[in-house]
């Protein structure tokens, strides 16, 4: 019960006017960053680092953390309204979120995203507070075989995201795997598929692929028509401006799903929020009573991934604060910030700096509330963006896409790649290839190959390492289940038809 005592002390720190201000600044900045495609929390935190030297470390970490989880709130806005993923983890939100907007329910989608983010964000902080040390130990037991199994599970989601043609979905996924492999092989430093170009040495940035395929593909598709007026129906009436009670009821499991999956995957160093969103979406679809509706605009399809990518921030703080191991790019910068401020991140950090840790935890609760209050009223406001006629909005989307990509790497080569992927996205639409599997393959491909090769190096070529370890064996078993389930369904249907 000392946890309660510590937490109360943390609130005392977090509720000081100065720290409240830092929290608000961080959350606000984070939301803005999340809304803008391309510019991510990592780059922003890096830019602000020098300014934090003059600040008290507790206030500084409160602000930077606010940027981190605040950006997850904003990321859904452009995903839902414009099919432009604001942040890499918001890619999955585009799938159902944009469809909801197309049906005039943009406000409901935005609202559900904010609410799911709040619930999951809070669960994430709860998890960080209560189960951090044992969970950190669990995280350490995860190594390459388990990561490989996790990635396989993620890729099995392709089956759930497939839609009409499984063949095309698998082909899209394979293309995604190929694009992921472009660049330098980690182990041998061999260049693969770089076509002799130095700019390809690091492979292609996620932002380029996601914005190109999703946003530009969609925009080019819309260019076929001639009408330049309304693009998406503007939500009318409170029912569509905000989520209804029915929506909230429908999402009960999604809230739970997103929070837990996001948090657990966040704890694993190296697994990212994009994987968390995909898996959470997949699970939601798998347990749903109306799985065929996913992809056409169901609220759970927004609530689950949005929750997952928010809970992931709480999870990512676990290895950072309890072990001093950064779980993702953004937490790596936070780690560097700790060092620069003279703190010593590591297993003893919480012991040595209880004020910082508990103040941070308390401020994360406060921050989540602030963000909900900030975002919900903005929903009807954002929905009005849809009032803009297509001939204003579409050029703007082109512009935002270019600026978003350029802001991450200042590379014109990346902007060219964006154009190329826009064409690919359009071609995929016309040829009826689903784009979600391509993104999934792209996100997971690299990590999966790496994990497999690391596992085989650990076992000296013995594949059984993947099934002799309990965690990876379980996940691989689940993967196989997911893959063969549709076959059972088909065989069953065939049998019913044959008998009837």
């Amino acid at each position: 019960m000392e946890v309660i005592v510590y937490l109360l002390q943390g609130f005392a720190v977090a509720l000081s006017p100065l720290n409240l201000m830092w929290c608000f600044i961080g959350c606000f900045l984070g939301t803005v960053i999340g809304i803008l495609p391309g510019l991510g929390p990592a780059a922003t935190i890096a830019m602000l680092l020098p300014l934090t030297f003059k600040m008290d470390p507790t206030g500084a970490v409160i602000m930077l953390a606010g940027i981190y989880y605040g950006s997850k709130y904003g990321g859904s806005t452009t995903s839902i309204l414009l099919n432009v993923p604001g942040e890499s983890a918001s890619v999955v939100t585009c799938i159902d979120g944009y469809q909801m907007a197309k049906r005039g329910r943009a406000g409901a989608a935005l609202g559900i995203a904010a609410i799911a983010s709040f619930i999951a964000g809070t669960v994430g902080v709860l998890g960080l507070m209560l189960v951090a040390p044992p969970l950190a130990k669990f995280a350490l037991s995860f190594s390459s075989p388990e990561y490989f199994a996790l990635m396989c599970l993620g890729l099995a989601m392709v089956v759930l995201l497939a839609g009409e043609s499984m063949t095309k979905a698998l082909l899209a996924m394979l293309v995604g795997l190929w694009i992921a492999g472009m660049g330098t092989d980690l182990f041998t430093s061999t260049s693969r598929f770089t076509f002799g170009n130095a700019e390809m040495l690091d492979g292609i940035d996620f932002v380029v692929v996601a914005i190109g395929v999703f946003a530009l593909g969609e925009v080019l598709g819309n260019m076929e028509g001639r009408s330049g007026t309304q693009m998406l129906p503007v939500p009318k009436g409170l029912r569509n401006l905000l989520p209804t009670w029915q929506d909230l009821k429908d999402c009960r499991f999604a809230f739970f799903n997103g929070s837990v999956i996001g948090f657990l995957i966040g704890v694993l160093p190296g697994a990212g929020s994009t994987i968390a969103s995909f898996i959470s979406y997949g699970i939601e679809k798998a347990v749903s009573r109306h799985p065929e509706k996913f992809g056409t605009g169901v609220v759970e399809g927004v609530a689950a991934p949005e929750g997952a990518n928010n809970a992931e921030t709480g999870g990512a703080m676990v290895p950072l604060l309890t072990l001093g191991i950064p779980g993702s790019g953004t937490t790596a910068i936070l780690l560097a910030a700790f060092i620069l401020w003279g703190l010593r991140p590591g297993p003893l950090m919480i012991q040595d700096n209880p004020t910082l840790f508990w103040g941070l935890v308390a401020s994360m609760y406060i921050g989540n509330v602030m963000l909900l209050v900030l975002n919900l009223p903005l929903v009807p406001l954002f929905a009005q963006i849809l009032r803009l006629p297509a001939y204003v909005l579409y050029p703007a989307i082109f512009g935002i896409s270019i600026v978003g990509v350029y802001s991450t790497s200042s590379s014109l080569f990346d902007v060219w790649m964006l154009g190329a992927f826009g064409l690919i996205g359009y071609a995929m639409r016309k040829l009826e290839y689903p784009s979600a599997p391509l993104i999934l393959g792209f996100v997971l491909g690299d990590g999966m190959e790496r994990a497999l090769r690391q596992s085989l190096m650990m076992s000296q070529g013995d594949l059984s390492i993947l099934v002799s370890r309990p965690i990876s064996a379980t996940m691989l078993f689940l993967t196989v289940l997911i893959l063969v389930a549709p076959l059972f369904k088909k065989a069953n249907a065939w049998r019913v038809r044959a008998l009837g």
Binding site: W178, D185, F187, G221, M223, G228, P395, G399, A427
Partner: protein
């Protein structure tokens, strides 16, 4: 579009798969420490070829029973024209800078693609360029591509 497109796309993907396999053969398949850089690409290249052949076969079989839908080339042409505009815009970024190149591209989109009056087109392009300038370099300190003209 679906059926005839399938055959073409299947063929293209099969070709891509073959390319991947050929490249993968040039790298180490399995080294002393474990699978090499050629391992994964070889396998997904093989899967790609197998699946695309399957796709082509399925759509050839279906084509016999279901007539192919007509392809609306006009629509596709419009989309490709828009893409060409985008490509030109990107190409000119280095010389003209973002604001000018994007302004011109917007003008093209509004006037030519959407057939709005020239006045509207001019207003939208200037407004958009201004908006981007105010938002990104000024308010957010995010650099826009700068051309030879200095902005």
């Amino acid at each position: 579009m679906a059926k005839s497109g399938d055959i073409v796309s299947g063929a293209v993907l099969a070709g891509l798969g073959v390319f991947i396999i050929v490249e993968a053969r040039g790298w180490e398949y399995a080294g002393p420490d474990g699978p090499g850089p050629g391992f994964f690409p070889l396998w997904y290249g093989v899967c790609m070829v197998a699946l695309s052949v399957l796709l082509v076969a399925m759509s050839l079989a279906q084509r016999a029973s279901v007539p192919a839908e007509p392809v609306n080339w006009r629509e596709i042409g419009r989309a490709l024209a828009a893409w060409a505009g985008l490509a030109l815009c990107v190409g000119f970024l280095k010389i003209l800078g973002f604001l000018l190149a994007f302004g011109l591209f917007t003008f093209f989109l509004v006037a030519v693609m959407y057939r709005r009056p020239l006045g509207t087109a001019a207003a939208v392009s200037v407004g958009a360029a201004l908006g981007f300038y105010l938002l990104f370099p000024l308010a957010l300190n995010v650099a826009l591509p700068i051309g030879k003209l200095g902005f």
